[in-house]
């Protein structure tokens, strides 16, 4: 880790946002000019139920310090009726799995953000950046060359 990085750690967060609610929410945050940290890289998916655990594991493997999964509010906002429930169960289960791999489960966050909640999106990103700054860089990045 270079001296520069040590001084100011800026986490990289990958955000998987559903097309119908959360991406629109993030868009609203943008057009409303709500300030939030630029640490999040947003990937739009059609539904939070589309987010395969592989996407999340790959994000961590490729150096993400945190992953945000966001979809439509429970119980009945999902455009595809039950995608958000699937996401809820997947993320809950996956959090236990990443913990076993040595990644803090707090690095994987699930939030329900509707199209009208630009302020909530900004608040979630702010909070998440702060939390991950406290946790430090992803342990996968600090891994020394093995054997």
């Amino acid at each position: 880790m270079s001296a520069h990085e040590k001084r100011e750690f800026e986490p990289k967060i990958v955000g998987f946002l559903c097309n119908w609610c959360s991406y629109a929410g993030a868009d609203l945050a943008g057009v409303s000019r709500i300030q939030y940290p630029p640490n999040i890289r947003v990937i739009r998916v059609m539904c939070s139920g589309r987010i395969d655990p592989v996407f999340i594991l790959e994000a961590f493997k490729n150096g993400a310090d945190g992953v945000l999964v966001s979809g439509c509010h429970l119980p009945s906002d999902c455009h595809y009726l039950s995608g958000n429930f699937k996401a809820l169960r997947r993320v809950t289960l996956l959090r236990r799995v990443i913990k076993e791999f040595g990644i803090e489960p707090e690095r994987l966050r699930l939030e329900w953000i509707s199209a009208s909640e630009g302020d909530k999106f900004a608040a979630v990103v702010r909070d998440m950046v702060e939390q991950i700054k406290k946790l430090g860089p992803s342990p996968l990045k600090m891994k020394e060359g093995e054997e």
């Binding site: 119980p75 809820l88 809950t92 076993e100 791999f101 040595g102 600090m142 891994k143 093995e146």
Partner: protein
């Protein structure tokens, strides 16, 4: 037959030895194999030394069946040597293919494993705290044993591999299929997993009806009904995320699939595929409106040992490969 006899080798790295037995499980068919092939190296059955292999010309062996993962320096050396001496290298069995059960040690580091095994187990008496060292000085000189690695690797993370035979151990029909496929004139393309592309569910004779699981049971907790899908009965069965070719042997014996066949084609990771599949069908009895995040936590709490369940054979081949080692 006018053709010269094939030269076949078998080797055993980080595995239990079951794959060696699986070769013999082909019973009298082994006589057909001996008709077309000479076995030139098989440490478990024949007295051929490493030195003899080192003295072989490159590409001398036609087909080498390599079972076991790579967990120490001796195994790595032999993998590289056999790669050099073989025309075709086959990762035979789950350990060579995916890391296998020994790969679950990737949840610990070398230091943790040595501490547990040589120092802290209740039956251990080791007051001097001796743990294996690659080199030891004794009166007569220096002794050397293989170096133990932190991480178990699959064979193809160590050397280039031509084919894979899945299974723990591979089913008799897989072994026969492999021998047949690799000895005919037009062998399958390099990198082929020598098993059908469909999942274990496709071969499973059990009745599948409603896909919903609200209570999870471990095998000792309940005797399963013989004809109904085990997942529907609440047993975590890796069938949906596991490549078939085994004839669903375990399911026919009333046991859930534990996933030895590895991932289905186009599935980057078996564990993630199963997490995804299981999360889709894990459900509560209540209506959706009653669902809360706390209740889902409780539902998921029923799954004990998620890594041991979803990654029993494929941890070293998974995306993250191992638990992070913290300095």
């Amino acid at each position: 037959m006018s053709k010269e006899k094939l030269k076949i080798a078998f080797y055993w790295a980080a595995s239990c030895g079951g794959c060696e037995i699986a070769v013999l499980d082909i019973n009298e068919k082994i006589l057909d194999v001996v008709q077309i092939a000479d076995i030139v190296f098989w440490p478990v059955a024949m007295d051929v030394k490493y030195k003899d292999v080192e003295n072989m010309p490159d590409k001398h062996i036609d087909i080498c069946f390599f079972n076991g993962g790579i967990r120490n320096s001796e195994q790595e050396y032999m993998a590289k040597l056999l790669r050099q001496k073989s025309k075709v290298l086959v990762a035979y069995g789950a350990c060579a293919h995916l890391g296998g059960v020994p790969g679950l040690a990737n949840l610990s580091s070398k230091k943790e494993i040595f501490e547990k095994v040589y120092l802290s187990t209740p039956s251990t008496v080791n007051s001097e705290g001796v743990v294996p060292q690659p080199k030891t000085k004794v009166g007569e000189g220096e002794l050397e044993i293989p170096e133990f690695y932190d991480t178990v690797r699959t064979l193809d993370q160590t050397v280039d591999v031509d084919y894979y035979v899945p299974g723990c151990p591979p089913a008799v029909e897989r072994t026969l299929y492999a021998i047949e496929a690799l000895t005919k004139d037009s062998p399958p393309p390099k990198g082929t997993v020598l098993a059908p592309p469909k999942s274990v569910c496709d071969e499973c004779p059990r009745k599948k009806e409603s896909k919903k699981v609200s209570n999870v049971y471990r095998v000792y907790e309940k005797i399963p009904e013989p004809e109904k899908c085990l997942l529907e009965q609440g047993f975590i069965c890796m069938g949906p995320a596991t490549r078939g070719g085994c004839g669903a042997r375990c399911l026919k014996a009333n046991m859930p699939c534990t996933g030895c066949g590895g991932p289905c084609p186009n599935s980057p990771e078996q564990g993630a595929a199963m997490i995804s599949a299981l999360a889709s069908i894990l459900g509560l009895e209540e209506e959706k409106e009653m669902y809360t995040e706390e209740k889902v936590e409780k539902l998921v709490d029923q799954i004990k040992d998620p890594i041991g369940t979803f990654y029993m054979y494929a941890l070293p081949a998974s995306i993250l490969r191992r638990r992070v080692i913290r300095q």
